[in-house]
Symmetry: C2
Subunit: 87 residues, 2 copies
DNA sequence: AATATATTTAACATTTAAGTTAAATGTTAA
DNA sequence: TTAACATTTAACTTAAATGTTAAATATATT
């Protein structure tokens, strides 16, 4: 956890795009995968990186797993960036 | 250039620490290197990543090269993060 | 010009990340 | 309980990132 894990998670364009998608509404793994050309397994691993960084939360809904954005973690990044900007 | 290059550059803890140091005042390569346990060459490469991402600017001062923070690039990150936060 | 100092680049080794396919797990429904 | 579907994990491959040491470049000094 912490800034390092967050920044690392955000450094991959596929993961950032997933977060962009989740901004609108929550989605299942399958719905997310459909939007990309890479394999289901690859998306699943990206989702686990985002989950470990607490950038998304997942809940099982029957045989689906639904992902939603957790933007609260981003506050730490905002603070760090701001601290560089001021002065 | 662009968000991807910026995020990638910021995903390394050594590079973030360099930016933190430059927040206070500009520093030469050597002064920066002194603060870390890794080799001069490794720091030099980190600096080149930061320079390519336009997060720092460098100017030669005699036999030294002085690095200063360029925070303007961070605006793009702020906008992206904010766009995730609102809603 | 030769030498010393500061910094960068090159070549290489090691580690980490991201992708693939196949196997495993969890859930629903026949 | 078996079959089908959704998702995750495992094993593996390839590419990229990070570190090291040594060579190259740039500037200053003698």
């Amino acid at each position: 956890m912490g800034l390092q894990e967050t920044m690392k998670a955000l450094s991959d364009p596929t993961r950032r795009e997933i977060l962009n998608m989740l901004k609108r509404h929550s989605m299942t793994s399958g719905e997310i995968e459909e939007q990309f050309d890479i394999s289901f397994a690859a998306i699943s691993r990206h989702l686990s990186v985002l989950r470990d960084a607490d950038l998304v939360r997942d809940t099982r809904e029957g045989k689906y797993v639904r992902y939603e954005l957790n933007a609260s973690v981003l506050e730490e990044i905002m603070l760090w960036v701001k601290s560089l900007q001021e002065n």
